[in-house]
Symmetry: C2
Subunit: 458 residues, 2 copies
């Protein structure tokens, strides 16, 4: 509960029309993609960077928790006010593309710009912003940076952190800082940009981003490889990439995922196959496309690929990616509750990972459909719980999968972050010394612990 | 002066044969590429990570300064013990390539491995480690990470930070941490890898690096464009790159640099030209090489290029790069003392930058030959001081050039770091709030301020 003097002080900063504590607003900002719910004490819409600064200064003085929020589309509760506090909602006023600088291949944006809107705007100018999280239609660039969002194109083009050149931010004490430069090279001062990436809104509130763009490749083509077993498919992934081919994307669906998509959408997928790989290549010459596809076909077939099918039309291309994009919603046929995680391992450990997940599935008698971004070792595993009384057992299965990923030199999270959902598992991946370093870093930025407190297991 | 009890304690940790305070050792470790000299109190060679941990724990308890050092080839005094303390010399025992993992396109190395040795080792396996600082023949990978070294290939392949996936490090209190993963995607916990990059050995001692590799491109070719004026050349740089061509390198020499190289080495360079651009393209198909070169030729000629000469043999290729690589030593014909800086601006601001430098040259009557990595906006400016009594005026000229770079949205340093040399200029680029944030970050890692203290203007 926010004292009324505090609420009035916040209203004085942003105006009554930008500061609310009525039930409708509190409910509207109580959720994210985890479906957990925590009502905030107030919702505040800063109009500009100065508002952000004033709000933080006030809240820092009075030790009021502030939770920055973009679209609220996160999968781990990063934007949830689980300890109360005010939601700093950035989508209302911080939604402008400030500049697309075609001369330097750079853009300046506000953090509330939706990823896909930004992609569209730069593509209209023949440019390209590769990071494409599955949430791209609604997630914001500020959220993408705060969680270091990945996506399908990471295999070739990397992830959000590879595109953030500079930023403006407000520290918890209200001070405004700039970090980074519009230059590829910049080694003056500590790498504050790097430090803020993936910091889940716990260190500072980003108010402006300078992003790197590249030229849009002129040609692209997609293909599907059909495999008898998951193991063959996983070997094909890492062996083809180790041979020097770098497709834009190298996505996979296991048999359960294929059957689920087919049952719902009837796209003619090979329901008897052990797994499919869906891949895309791009380049500036048709020869480059041909070269990459034939090299991939050869490597796939060396590793047990039964059929290699190149999309021959825009429709066929669209159908392939439709299958991949709709895997997540299709697999809900296997259970009421989906415990989905985004573990990641080095590519060559994928065969072991998938074999290990199959064992967990057998041990706990849960179906665990898997799909995802195998080109960068990122697998979305989904423990499907049919009967809600088995939920605890489901969490045990998830814990085993986390341990497996860490044992295979992988990570708890490739894309979704830690937030609240994965906080209980941090001890599996980090030592006490490492956790203490995280806490010291947090204190350096936020000594009063007002910014998105008690996230990431800190 | 190190108390003898401390010296003996350090000897007890690493053995007498790895701990020295005789004059010969103190002199051998008193310099770097700045030619400033500060003798340390002792030189210690840790044999392994445990030694590093024990040394730091001891020095932290007794508040003894520790200066980590690789090859000592830095240009800004990052490895100089200007406040005394012990040199932690890593080149003796930390010089092993631990693993080249061809399956995952990753390598694990110790920080004292020389950049070029590593490049050669991975190229023997058909792989490629792009970061190529001019010091590559002797600088170490740990030093490269600590200064976030760039190089000629940054225009296409980025810089050191783009290749560091994970690391092990020892904190000033002796605790050993790991950070990052062998995976492209990893968003668990704060980005400690990113925080340590470019931190100039002030936050932790890196003991192991996991580096990203890529497949070695099958073909490459170089070309030279001859321009009547610097302005034409600078326009050609950014306009060709904005058009979507991404050469591996896009290097430039101005008229003074061309004439200096020609006077010393007689390579047949066009001494009457205003500037030359030396560029290289690569790819996996001959058609890709042809495509890029013809696109570059067209863009160069649209911007006043008088002659576009493609290297037709290995010898011609070698001659082109010889000219570029030997610019730095050749221009010493213009003065006894060379005040060289590595300012960087967004590429489209290069014409203004070079025009501004010409004005500074005129105002102070110094020759200021320029060359460098224009493909990423990084220009090596060299204020040549003939008479040493003009040194102060030389520093004034440098200060004006720094201001100019910052005004053009650029940075004080693209590659060399801040260390001691550029510390007095930090106020030109950073606000008090930003400097205070740097200090808070430093305290978070190093509360007793023992690790490379008083660097970077902190």
């Amino acid at each position: 509960m926010l004292e009324s003097t505090h609420f009035k002080a916040l209203q004085n900063i942003v105006g009554q029309e930008n500061c609310y504590n009525d039930k409708a607003h509190l409910i509207a900002y109580c959720y994210d993609a985890t479906r957990e719910r925590y009502e905030p004490d107030a919702v505040v819409y800063p109009r500009d960077e100065r508002d952000v600064s004033e709000i933080l200064k006030y809240c820092n003085t009075h030790k009021i928790a502030v939770i920055p929020r973009g679209a609220g589309s996160g999968f781990t509760g990063g934007a949830l006010p689980h300890k109360g506090g005010i939601i700093l909602a950035l989508e209302k006023y911080f939604n402008k593309i400030l500049e697309i600088d075609e001369k330097n291949l750079i853009a300046r944006v506000q953090p509330g710009v939706v990823n896909k809107h930004f992609q569209n705007a730069v593509e209209q100018k023949g440019l390209f912003y590769p990071p494409d999280p599955a949430s791209q239609e609604y997630s914001t660039l500020g959220g993408n940076v705060s969680e270091n969002a990945g996506g399908m194109r990471a295999a070739k083009y990397g992830i959000t952190k590879d595109y953030v050149m500079a930023l403006r931010a407000v520290l918890p004490n209200g001070e405004i800082i700039r970090a980074g430069k519009k230059t590829i090279k910049d080694v003056a001062g500590y790498n504050i940009v790097g430090t803020l990436i993936a910091s889940e809104g716990t260190l500072a509130v980003i108010t402006e981003l300078t992003l790197k763009l590249i030229a849009k490749p002129k040609y692209k083509k997609s293909a599907m490889g059909v495999f008898g077993s998951i193991d063959d498919a996983m070997n094909a992934v890492y062996k083809s990439m180790a041979s020097g081919i770098t497709p834009v994307a190298m996505e996979f669906l296991d048999n359960l995922s294929i059957r689920a998509v087919e049952e719902r959408f009837h796209k003619g997928l090979p329901t008897e196959s052990g797994a499919i790989l869906i891949t895309q290549v791009d380049g500036d010459l048709p020869q480059v496309i041909e070269y990459q596809l034939s090299a991939l076909e050869a490597k796939f077939k060396e590793n047990g690929c039964q059929e290699f099918k190149i999309a021959q039309s825009a429709q066929e291309e669209e159908d392939l990616w439709f299958a991949r994009r709709n895997a997540s919603q299709s697999i809900t046929i296997y259970g009421k509750k989906k415990l989905n995680e985004d573990i990641t391992v080095p590519r060559a450990r994928l065969p072991e990972l998938l074999a290990g997940i199959a064992k967990v599935s057998e041990k706990y008698s849960f179906k665990i459909p898997c799909f995802g971004h195998t080109g960068d070792g990122n697998v979305h595993t989904n423990v499907m719980v049919e009967d809600l009384k088995d939920l605890e057992k489901g969490h045990e299965a998830i814990t085993e999968i986390f341990k497996l990923a860490v044992d295979l030199e992988g990570t708890l999270s490739g894309e979704h972050g830690i937030g609240l959902s994965k906080a209980p598992f941090m001890h599996l991946a980090f030592s006490e010394a490492e956790m203490n370093l995280f806490r010291a870093l947090k204190r350096a930025f936020d000594p009063n612990n007002i910014l998105n407190p008690a996230k990431m297991g800190l």
